[in-house]
């Protein structure tokens, strides 16, 4: 993933018993804590995404999804902050204002104050940023809402919770699409947001089956004392598709490849 210069509204979680010595590292028990990265100037070659979501949990998840797909991320908690970041929060266009390089804006729909739709409109009204693709996220699958956003110029509409596959798809569009950006003078990142704090290297608590030991779940482990239903091997659960398929009526399963709604009005051909 490389170094992140992305500034975000990320609060550090408590680390109590999990700050144990690095197991992956050398025999020396105490790892040196990694310093918090200084906010770096934006690199013209990297994709920079502005993520907008009022929920802290969702902001963290979307930020991680984007970072994993090699994007720089700036995450803000409201439409107003987004406009502020883009320099659109007042009517006067400042000539001295450094142009910002933003390759994608991804925003939640339901936010107090300014909704994602309202933010979308404001972005499309601006001369500097109207070409920037805007993606709307929502946990509600409401067709009228989707249509309205697409008509207003949204690039795509994602159902929450957003999956890695969704973000990878977005990313591949950005890689191949000829995006006309605002002129790319580097601009200092805003200093009022919290910077990302990298936790010191500590043992992975992943319970994934693919990663290296020590914490892979042993496929041999079986247990007789579980519930009356036939015990599913947990390894199967982790690697295969979901067991529990009764989705609620109000939400479609978000499967990007199959959803016709998402394919609508995409300007570039689907790439996966």
């Amino acid at each position: 993933m490389g170094r992140d210069g992305g500034v975000s509204c990320l609060r550090r979680a408590e680390m109590n018993m999990m700050s144990v010595g690095g197991i992956e590292s050398t025999p020396a028990p105490a790892p040196a804590p990694a310093p918090a990265p200084a906010p770096a100037p934006l690199d013209l070659d990297e994709v920079h995404v502005l993520a907008v979501d009022d929920s802290l949990v969702d902001r963290i998840v979307i930020e991680r999804l984007l970072r994993i797909t090699s994007c720089k991320v700036t995450a803000v908690d409201s439409g107003w902050r987004a406009l502020e970041f883009l320099g659109l929060d007042n009517d006067k266009a400042s000539a001295q204002l450094d142009r910002l390089k933003v390759d994608l804006i991804i925003t939640d729909y339901c936010m107090p104050g300014m909704t994602g739709y309202e933010l979308l409109k404001k972005i499309k009204e601006s001369s500097n940023f109207r070409e920037v693709p805007v993606v709307i996220m929502s946990s509600e699958n409401v067709l009228t809402r989707i249509d309205r956003c697409l008509e207003e110029g949204a690039q795509d509409f994602l159902l929450k919770p957003v999956k890695l596959a969704d973000v990878k798809r977005l990313r591949s569009h950005l890689a191949t699409k000829d995006v006309k950006l605002s002129n790319g003078n580097k601009r200092k990142l805003p200093e009022d947001s919290d910077s990302v704090i990298i936790t010191p290297p500590s043992p992975s608590l992943t319970i994934s089956t693919e990663s290296s030991p020590p914490l892979t779940i042993s496929p041999d482990s079986s247990d007789s004392s579980s519930s009356s239903s036939p015990p599913l091997s947990p390894v199967e659960m982790f690697s295969s598709s979901p067991i529990d398929n009764d989705e609620d009526d109000d939400v479609l399963t978000s499967s990007p490849e199959e959803s016709p709604i998402r394919r609508q009005k995409m300007r570039s051909p689907g790439l996966d």
Partner: protein, 158 residues
């Protein structure tokens, strides 16, 4: 032997997770979180879940304060809080919490006070159940961690 201890603990985790999936307490989005964890972000799952707990407890507390107020009438505010809870719960795969909050939200949209009170109780119950399960999971994981460290550092066959 330490090795046997680790196997047993891993079996415990397997069992616990299998049970949570079976019960519908967790869904596949919880697994999605695992995909986001790697060497550059080794504590991601733990961190996100703890943030989820902090945020959810605040929201539930506020909901209780609002509803306990005898002169309460701001159902819209309840709705806003519940939107947050529904959203974050679904983001981390906390399916049952999400579902009970959706039901709770429906009651608030109908300005149904007793329905809301019931909804709140159920939401609190489901939330605490999830939290206890997660704590148990993390505790077992930390034991495994400890054992592995001991093995690696050669703390012998005891």
């Amino acid at each position: 032997m330490l090795g046997l201890g680790v196997d047993r603990l891993q079996a415990d985790i397997n069992r616990l997770l299998a049970s949570l999936f079976h019960q519908g307490v967790l869904d596949e989005h919880f697994l999605q979180l695992q995909q986001l964890q790697d060497e550059t972000s080794p504590n991601f799952v733990y961190d996100v879940i703890n943030i989820y707990f902090d945020e959810s407890e605040k929201l539930l507390r506020n909901l209780r304060l609002l509803l306990m107020d005898r002169e309460f009438s701001d159902y819209k505010k309840i709705g806003l809080h519940l939107n947050q809870l529904v959203g974050s719960s679904s983001s981390i795969g906390a399916r049952r919490v999400r579902n009970v909050c959706v039901a709770f939200r429906s009651a608030s949209e109908l300005s149904n006070r007793p329905g809301c009170l019931r909804g709140l109780e159920v939401a609190e119950h489901e939330y605490h159940y999830l939290k206890n399960m997660m704590h148990e999971l993390f505790q077992v994981l930390s034991f495994i961690l400890l054992l592995h460290m001991r093995i690696k550092l050669g703390y012998g066959r005891q």
